[in-house]
């Protein structure tokens, strides 16, 4: 079967359990089992080739640009691991079917499990280290889901998060390490990397790559000081613990070290980092395990210890040690999975995992007793079980290892570890199964059904068989897997058998076993001492770190983003000014090419007015009315300035914009407090003055520098001047630019205006939909109101002015193309004409006489502009291409027409609509039901008010 399919099968199959759970728990588990079985079958099909020493490959170019390709290969090591993953996976699926209760969502469980299985198979089959990274992180994620499977347990959530944080961060470090490695070799393919030992070890990047990759491996395989997550991961259901946290996932780190062994091992750095870490982990795990009362915690620390053992063997860097490591991986997987399952059975039947509450179970649960005892003896290293074989070989290697010139250190520490290891194994048997029968079990224990004990029984059978007939059963497998680890070349001499003669290892074993029995007999006292010693609790430290990180993040985030607009803009201004200043001073400035103009008397007066108004604005800005007046002054002077500097179009636009804005602002001010509060301190104000001053001077300086120089190249405006009449059909170049040369900009801008009005409208609607409305209705005016809201004089004058103003607007509109004016200004003037009616007679009165809705006017304006633009398409020209010509209608003079006129009409309508919609929206704040007067003015000499009053009374 193709390697693609083997790797993909668990992922594809992951869908089925979740779906088939509706057809029952058997269907769900059967689908998971079938998937795994198929994948296992696919793997076994490739077995003959692997045992012939061939490497099966499957390649697919996924992301050649990066070097991330879906390349898989299967050699001895991959075969061993894939076999373990799928084989034990099958047993776990069987076991879990009977372990999980009815309340547990089983479909989810199998789905997560298969996802994990796929990720794991992916790791061991990857021929591309980036692909391997993907699967690597996937195992972290799926293990997160599996540990947190029992959502109701806080321990599950915390354990899941801890496992993800630790193994995930290790994975991140590994990303860096793998990228460095790939960079050194210029390929991300493992097969290539594995052939470049010299290149890698000679590279200056060897050390960083080694450390980063080992960080990944150590976190995953729970090596000291990252071992603490594994016991907390035991909050997961027991099948998960048995599968992920003893037999497979935690071995991914070992796999990686074994995989990389040919290129990374063999240096001093490798030896001292890996072997030492393994040694420490091994002894630490063994010691802690002895004092754990929770069965799963005991097994978890024993797993940590055994992982340390294998790490240490790989760290020795000798070929024979690598062989032993491979052998122990197989043995540990078999007995430890069986032990976990036994622990799960005990938990399931007695409802406790606390050793202190157990004991004497051998009579009640004979089958479990046999299974667990055999597995535990194997763990203790008792012949003729498989654990004994690999432990002997390990001790043999330890005896030959010198650590910093000391030949006794490693064997000594290893002996201690072996002693404790045997002790906790015996304790597992003695304190759970032996001893008197108790009558205070939380539940009445009895052996489970065959479904639950079958899987561990199979494993235990293997434990015995491998112990007795190791060469026949696992000999070839160890040979091909070790061959792959040491990367070709001759396998060293080794012998998988029970009796090696009277060797130092045998003596050490005997010492450990005898010592263990002694130690166990004094366990109670020993435990008191242990509990009395203060120990750093990894979870507390970890929680403190993460908690501290979270608190610090919160502090930074909230401190930085305190939602103060003043601070945000201060940072903005300071940052912009300093970068602009930096840019200026690191460049070269040319000499000014222009000379300044002598100011006349008028500009100086204007300047003084402008400055005076601005300064007053700063001083009096708390009074909103005054500041509005001052803003008006500033705007007026700028308009005059435009006019003085020969820009009549700009002057006209500016002044009409000023008028409209001030009116709208006045209207808005009606609903607001007339003064702004004083909320800044003097220091703050001083700081802000400095910042504002510097930025103002900066802008002034920039403008000065720009005005004192000429264009470095001829400006494009010369083209506009030259082509305004010829190509645009107008003599007013400003208008032609607006509606023709750059009509698209104008198109955008009228849309901006239209949107602004729509937003004001939508905003009003939103605000009036809330309780603000009631507040407004009951509003007491904070200023004395005029008794005559709609004075006679004003009504009359505005009525008279209306047609005149509209006439002016029309005039400005039509002359726009050739003389100052145009749709924009005309629109503003027309809007002012309408606004005057609203002001004179009130919003309600005017609104009643309104025939067209302003939304429609805005929409039509934009549409007319767009349609005019699209008209050019009919002509085969681009959007907004204008055409013009001359028409002679007999009584009239010959006059010019231009399609730009249509565009300008759109501008006109959009402007009128936008201004009026804004006005209408703001007015609605003041609107109250029934305030519409039927009279245009409050006092009308032509009307006899008494008569009306009488009518009303009648």
């Amino acid at each position: 079967m193709s390697l693609f399919l083997i790797a993909a099968l668990p992922f594809l199959g992951a869908v089925f359990p979740a779906l088939l759970i509706r057809a029952g728990r058997n269907a769900s588990s059967a689908s998971a089992g079938a998937t795994t079985f198929l994948a296992l079958l696919g793997l076994l099909v490739n077995a003959p080739a692997v045992f012939r020493g061939e490497v099966v490959t499957a390649r697919f170019d996924w992301l050649p640009g990066l070097g991330l390709n879906a390349n898989f290969y299967l050699d001895g090591l991959g075969f061993l691991f894939a076999g373990l993953i799928l084989g034990i996976g099958l047993l776990i699926i069987l076991y879990a079917r009977f372990y999980l209760s009815r309340e547990d969502p089983m479909g989810q469980f199998y789905t997560y499990l298969l996802l994990f299985q796929g990720a794991m198979v992916g790791i061991v089959l990857s021929d591309n280290i980036l692909l391997l990274l993907i699967f690597w992180e996937l195992t972290s994620l799926s293990s997160f889901l599996l540990i947190g499977y029992w959502k109701h347990l806080p321990a599950g959530r915390q354990g899941a998060r801890m496992a993800l944080a630790v193994t995930g961060s290790g994975g991140l470090a590994m990303i860096a390490g793998m990228l460095i490695l790939g960079n050194v070799v210029s390929s991300y393919d493992l097969t290539v990397i594995l052939q470049n030992k010299e290149l890698i070890q000679a590279s200056p990047y060897y050390m960083p790559a080694l450390i980063l990759i080992l960080l990944g491996a150590f976190t995953k395989s729970a090596q000291f000081p990252f071992h603490f997550w594994l016991p907390h991961a035991m909050a997961a259901p027991t099948p998960v613990s048995a599968y992920l946290h003893s037999a497979t996932m935690v071995k991914a780190g070992l796999f990686l070290m074994a995989r990389m062994w040919p290129v990374l091992a063999g240096t001093d750095a490798w030896f001292y980092i890996v072997a030492t870490t393994g040694l420490i982990t091994m002894v630490l795990g063994a010691v802690i395990a002895l004092f754990k009362d929770d069965l799963k915690a005991l097994l978890a620390f024993s797993t940590v210890s055994h992982l340390g053992l294998i790490t240490m063997l790989l760290g020795f860097g000798t070929k024979i040690a690598a062989v032993v490591a491979v052998f122990h991986i197989i043995n540990h997987a078999t007995f430890k999975a069986a032990l976990f399952m036994s622990a799960g059975i005990i938990d399931h039947e007695t409802h406790t995992r606390d050793i202190k509450r157990l004991g004497g179970l051998r009579h009640l649960m004979p089958v479990t007793f046999v299974i667990a005892t055999v597995a535990a003896l194997s763990m203790a290293g008792i012949p003729p079980l498989n654990g004994f074989l690999s432990k002997e070989m390990m001790l043999e290697e330890a005896v030959h290892t010198t650590w910093l010139n000391s030949p006794y250190l490693v064997p000594g520490v290893v002996l201690i570890a072996a002693l404790f290891s045997a002790t906790y194994s015996f304790r597992f048997i003695a304190h759970v199964f032996l001893g008197p029968k108790r009558d205070d079990y939380p539940a009445k224990p009895h052996d489970p059904g065959v479904g639950m004990w079958l899987a561990p029984a199979i494993l235990v059978t293997l434990v015995i068989l491998i112990g007795l007939f190791s060469k026949a059963i696992v000999g070839p497998l160890v040979a091909v897997a070790s061959g792959a680890v040491i990367g070709g070349g001759e396998l060293p001499y080794y012998s998988l058998k029970i009796w090696h003669g009277f060797t130092p290892a045998l003596y050490m074993s005997i010492v450990a076993t005898v010592g263990a029995i002694v130690l166990l007999s004094v366990h109670g006292r020993f435990e008191q001492i242990w509990n009395a010693i203060p120990r750093p609790e990894a979870k507390v430290i970890f929680d403190a770190i993460i908690g501290g990180m979270t608190a610090l993040s919160r502090k930074i985030t909230e401190g930085l983003h305190n939602r103060s607009m003043a601070r945000y803009s201060a940072i903005f201004v300071v940052f912009v000014v300093s970068l602009a200043g930096y840019a200026y001073y690191t460049g070269t400035d040319s000499v000014p090419t222009r000379i300044g103009i002598e100011p006349g008397i008028m500009p100086i007066i204007g300047w003084i007015c402008l400055m005076g108004a601005t300064i007053c604005l700063v001083v009096f800005h708390h009074n909103r009315f005054v500041s509005l007046v001052l803003v008006g002054v500033v705007g007026l002077i700028i308009s005059i300035g435009f006019n003085y500097l020969s820009a009549p179009d700009l002057a006209l636009t500016q002044i009409s914009v000023e008028v409209v804005t001030i009116i709208l602002l006045l209207l808005a001010l009606n609903f607001m407090p007339k003064e702004t509060p004083w909320e800044t301190t003097n220091e703050r104000r001083f700081r802000d003055v400095i910042i504002a001053g510097i930025s103002g001077l900066g802008v002034g300086g920039l403008i000065y520098a720009l005005m004192m120089r000429d264009f470095a190249f001829p400006s494009i405006s010369e083209f506009h001047l030259a082509n305004s009449y010829k190509g645009g059909g107008g003599t007013n170049v400003v208008n032609v630019i607006l509606v023709d040369f750059r009509g698209f900009d104008t198109f955008g801008e009228i849309i901006v205006l239209g949107i602004a009005a729509l937003v004001i409208y939508a905003l009003t609607e939103a605000v009036l939909g809330t309780r603000v409305r009631a507040h407004l209705l009951n509003r007491k005016p904070d200023m004395p109101q005029s008794g005559d809201a709609h004075p006679l004089m004003m009504v009359v004058v505005t009525r008279v002015m209306m047609p005149i103003a509209l006439m002016v607007a029309a005039y400005i509109f039509f002359r726009g193309h050739n003389l100052p004016g145009g749709g924009f200004i005309a629109g503003l003037i027309a809007a002012i004409a309408f606004i005057m009616q609203y002001m004179a007679s009130g919003f309600s009165w005017a609104a009643e006489r309104q025939k067209v809705f302003y939304h429609g006017i805005i929409g039509s304006g934009v549409l007319i502009a767009a349609i005019t633009g699209m008209g050019a398409w009919l002509n085969g020209k681009p959007f907004l291409t204008s055409a013009f010509g001359y028409i002679h209608w007999p009584p009239l003079e010959e006059f010019e027409w231009a399609t730009a006129m249509g565009f300008d009409l759109g501008v006109f309508l959009a402007v009128v609509g936008a201004v009026m919609l804004a006005l209408e929206s703001l007015s609605r704040f003041a609107w109250q039901p029934g305030i519409a007067s039927e009279h245009a003015m409050d006092i009308n000499p032509a009307r006899d008010d008494d008569e009306i009053d009488e009518k009303k009374e009648v």
């Binding site: 990274l133 109701h152 993800l164 849309i751 549409l863």
Partner: protein, 520 residues
């Protein structure tokens, strides 16, 4: 001349006023037209992308005026890709807003959305710096309208900050354009490129000021530290589908940086040497760091994702700031990913909000918890750059591209540590939101109110959505599908990105097309 080039702008620009004029009282008709318009936009975008595959740069001269005197739209690989991305995102957002009933919680949603699309597409297509300003204005004002859609005091307050801060940016934009025009006498991008390259080395100070001011404008849009302050509060308080749409807005900034600082002030331009990448790279790293810290440090889902958006902009800008073809190639891939992932998370967050409010704390169980949790998990994986989704590929690409930089150790460290913080942050919030709610023993003690933004009640009070979750979930799953496709077809997408990057670093093609009438 192919009118299709201007269609992504004209279509929404006509559709929106039509909706306002004719359909403003008919929500169901608005929906139909809005969806139809977006589908058409998607079709147009696909056709445009197809046109660019042969490597040509197309120019559309508005008003038939030749560049640099008139305004031109320029279609190349990058702009076509961005328009397509916009259209895909818009499709999801429109469907989601309809399905969740968000479009009914205020006025003019569809019209404003179409205007927003017009602004975004215009910014991607224009070849004129001033026209870019106009489209920035269009998208700013439309986005403000969308942001405060539905109202509520907290949203309105956040809206004021948003619009004021961005108006500061707009003012700066005008200063920048004024400076550049006063120095070079042109505003057409291609023409600017030519003139800047010919600029005398004795006269660079003002040009440099213009270049840096313009860059700062784009940095405001792209939320680069320390100019990002507008983003967290406004994204967190906007209606969530709108926040999802805003995922493209920060990309407008990133796009503009990519465009202007390869075309006009490219890495080879001496006049602006040492101005762009030198500080953008550290700023981008800071952005990533602060973004990921924010993910961990906030108690509100919306805000967390807003910081996620900042973090992903950081990663994106690191890649852009390298200003190498491989860096840009990675950036383009990552840009697609980041847009979709951010939008997805915002939409999922809206589903969470509807069910249990926006605070990250335990709560009674919510309906459809499994589905929502799964989607949140997917979104979190994408945002944190974990496998198997495109975020991981993107992160690898960015890191791989950074290898050539002298600061690669620093860049890698920042990316990896930020990833770690992001993972911890998402694991924390996800397990609290989706797992802790199942804890029967957990006593719901209200957390102290550190947020000054008021309470979640305002959000909870929003009218119940119309029961059409099918449409909403279609949008969400559509985004998930896009992420999956982006991962599976990473090879071809990356190939396209590489070609796009190559086109960007060969500005003469663009300049020739615009100024010498290459392809019309």
């Amino acid at each position: 001349m192919n009118h299709l080039i201007v269609a992504p702008i004209v279509l929404p620009a006509v559709l929106a006023p039509f909706i306002i004029m004719v359909l403003r009282h008919h929500l169901s008709l608005q929906r139909i037209f809005s969806v139809a318009g977006t589908v058409a936009l998607l079709g147009i975008a696909l056709a445009l992308l197809g046109m660019t595959l042969n490597g040509q740069v197309y120019v559309y001269e508005l008003g038939d005026w030749p560049a640099p005197f008139g305004i031109v739209m320029v279609l190349d690989r990058l702009s076509a890709l961005m328009v397509l991305l916009t259209a895909m995102l818009a499709m999801a957002v429109v469907l989601y807003s309809i399905g969740s009933g968000w479009d009914n919680r205020g006025r003019h949603f569809h019209a404003l959305l179409q205007f927003q699309l017009m602004g975004v597409c215009g910014a991607f297509l224009t070849g004129d710096a001033f026209n870019l300003f106009v489209f920035f204005e269009v998208l700013l004002i439309a986005s403000y309208g969308l942001m405060i859609h539905g109202g509520g005091p907290r949203r309105l307050r956040a809206g004021v900050q948003y619009v004021v801060y961005n108006l500061l940016g707009s003012t700066l934009f005008l200063f920048a354009l004024g400076t550049l025009y006063a120095v070079t006498g042109t505003l057409n991008m291609a023409d600017l490129a030519v003139r800047v390259a010919e600029m005398s080395p004795d006269d660079t100070a003002l040009l440099r000021v213009g270049a840096v001011l313009l860059l700062l404008v784009f940095c405001v849009k792209a939320a680069v530290l320390p100019l990002h302050f507008w983003l967290p509060t406004s994204y967190a308080n906007a209606p969530l589908p709108v926040s999802a749409l805003f995922a493209i807005m920060t990309k407008v900034g990133a796009y503009s940086i990519l465009r202007i600082y390869t075309l006009v002030f490219g890495p080879d331009v001496e006049a602006t040497a040492g101005l762009v990448g030198d500080w953008l790279l550290p700023a981008a790293m800071l952005t990533l760091a602060v973004g990921s810290i924010g993910i961990l440090g906030t108690k509100i889902i919306n805000r967390m994702i807003a910081f996620g958006a900042i973090a992903s902009m950081g990663t994106l800008l690191i890649s852009i700031a390298l200003f190498t073809p491989t860096g840009t190639e990675a950036a383009i891939y990552y840009m697609i990913h980041s847009t979709i992932a951010t939008a997805l998370l915002f939409l999922v967050a809206d589903q969470v909000r509807e069910r249990r409010g926006i605070r990250i704390r335990s709560h009674s169980p919510m309906p459809q918890a499994g589905l929502i949790a799964g989607l949140f998990f997917v979104g979190g994986i994408a945002m944190a750059g974990m496998p198997p989704l495109s975020g991981f590929v993107g992160k690898l690409l960015v890191m791989d591209a950074a290898r050539q930089s002298t600061d690669f150790g620093m860049i890698w460290a920042v990316i990896l540590i930020s990833s770690f913080i992001t993972i911890v942050g998402f694991a924390r919030s996800g397990s609290i939101i989706f797992w802790r709610s199942h804890d029967p023993d957990f006593i719901d003690t209200p957390e102290p109110e550190v947020e000054v933004e008021g309470t979640e009640d305002e959000h909870a009070k929003e009218p119940a959505p119309e029961p059409n979750p099918g449409v909403a979930f279609t949008a969400v799953f559509g985004l998930v599908a896009l992420l999956v496709l982006l991962t599976v077809f990473a090879g071809p997408v990356l190939e396209f990105s590489a070609e796009t990057a190559a086109q960007l670093y060969e500005p003469s093609i663009y300049i020739d097309a615009v100024l010498h009438g290459g392809q019309k």
